[in-house]
Symmetry: C2
Subunit: 328 residues, 2 copies
């Protein structure tokens, strides 16, 4: 009997979950829930229904894990704690500063419902966090570095599109290669924001718009661009569609640390991701943790957890015996 | 009150454990046990005693975790199960094929003693295994690649030194850069042994020895060298001491996998280590898992575990709340 999964919200992430379920024989898609009119939502999996959000509760006994695919700004702070009373839930809540509050709320709800809720799952927070923790526990005397990219930042792309005279735009965050090299060489550099990443923008201007003014507005935009070396390219709508419609991303988590009685030896631990599709990879992580939530709940556990609290074996469909034999 | 650690065996690994304890405020070295005459063993930590192996049992109530620093061939198969009856234990057992058997024996002993035994800790098995598991759970449709080096292989160095006419020698395992690049590019190559690694040997020949014969014996040695492109350099004893006395190592675990309804997106997960001192890094991993063993046993757990069974948070000296706030 496979683990029955529900998807709440069918955007890029929800669709990624659906694709990931297809690749895992022990998982099965039970239902998709949407705020849109279900009639207008075409999913990929044959024979699976699309329902209004409000109908989720009816599936309380049929869905083993509900994966919440909404946004961190407004959806997840409400949804995760609401559904954790009825379902084992997984979310990708990524507002770092609000994680403690979110954790407390989901913990109370999940304990009330005797369910497991795993929050902030994905790659950052998620796999990057895990690698920071492991590397810090091993090299207690060292320095952490996180670089993002090369990849599309939705927040920065949105910021460009809000500028007057901009029809469309896409922004890439790019790690500075020389900074990465200095870190890998064990130089433990102190890096400013500008020294770590550059930003490259591809902009479609509206006809007759003042491109020099748009470029200036982008480059001087506080928080988003003013602390970075930013390059702006004006291109046609066709070129943007053709060359920049993907959602790649990735990055590097590096810890450089010293061991030895006199700290005479240096070590570099590096974890990196190169992702063709940010939402599909994030979805693949969420699905592995959905399996873990199901198993933990079967064992009688409840409450809120993060990737830090889950033993790796729970993510796999293989037994402990198989894992020890083939993967250790 | 800090966690009291005992070290069983004071070679490179035992000394590495001692250095790692110095870097972790919540850990304290209680005693070192040796098969040698304790009078002849000088440790680095002031005020800590060195005792005969047979005296370990007397420290049953004073040592929280005993870290076993012997070899996998003969020491650990006996020691880990013996001491797991009295202590929480950690070992770095690395004979992959015998892990299931070792696990079963340590599990029975640790359950009998109501202790926790964590086996096969280090970087391979250990951190590399963990990264294989995480990457496989996330990208269920993909291929695994492990490369080792550049680093010193003790087994291969020993094999060289056993050859007639060889006074001393050191062997480096080196990953083939073009193979690494092909994997990183998502080409999913099928790689032969020869295509993945090369071997480089630095040999000190005895006076008058036939270097051509030694080189031939090395290059044609089955299992160790015959399946690899091997380079042999004859150097002086002084040069070997000066240039090749370190024990660096490292390597790469890469998973390349596809997602998407039509498997249209590729992803690369890469974990790599660049280590100045193989034993000191291994020791740093063992010490983090010693902390975990202590905490798990305090919670009432017992039996044998591997890195797959330990939630990451147990490795850290920080609380769950601190970890969520600063590392997630």
């Amino acid at each position: 009997m496979s683990i029955q999964i529900g998807i709440m919200g069918y955007g890029n992430l929800g669709r990624g979950i659906e694709c990931a379920i297809k690749q895992n024989d022990d998982l099965e898609l039970k239902a998709v829930f949407t705020r849109r009119d279900p009639e207008t939502v075409n999913i990929l999996t044959e024979g699976v229904g699309v329902y209004k959000t409000e109908e989720a509760e009816k599936f309380k006994d049929e869905i083993d894990v509900l994966i919440l695919c909404g946004g961190s700004a407004t959806d997840l702070p409400k949804q995760t704690k609401e559904y954790a009373k009825m379902f084992n839930v997984i979310d990708s809540f990524d507002t770092h500063a609000k994680i403690p509050e979110h954790f407390a709320e989901v913990d109370a709800a999940a304990k009330e419902g005797k369910k497991v809720g795993i929050i902030s799952v994905g790659w950052d927070p998620g796999m990057f966090s895990l690698n920071r923790l492991y590397a810090n526990a091993i090299l207690s005397n060292g320095a952490d570095y996180t670089f993002w990219g090369k990849g599309v930042s939705q927040g920065h792309s949105d910021a460009i599109r809000r500028i007057d005279g901009v029809k469309d735009g896409k922004q890439y965050t790019i790690p500075v290669e020389s900074a990465l090299e200095a870190v890998r060489n064990g130089e433990n550099p102190e890096l400013t924001t500008r020294q770590k990443h550059t930003r490259e923008c591809f902009v479609v201007a509206e006809e007759g718009a003042d491109q020099a003014r748009i470029e200036e507005e982008i480059k001087t935009m506080p928080n988003y661009f003013s602390d970075y070396d930013t390059t702006v390219h004006f291109i046609s709508e066709e070129e943007l569609k053709r060359e920049h419609s993907g959602i790649p991303h990735g990055g590097f988590v590096i810890r450089s640390g010293k061991t030895g009685w006199e700290e005479e030896h240096n070590h570099i631990i590096e974890y990196s991701l190169k992702l063709d599709s940010n939402p599909e990879f994030t979805a693949s992580v969420l699905v592995a943790y959905a399996r873990a939530a199901y198993k933990l709940n079967k064992e009688g556990q409840s409450g809120c957890k993060t990737v830090f609290d889950i033993a790796p074996a729970y993510l796999s469909s293989q037994s402990g015996e198989e894992l020890r034999k083939h993967m250790l």
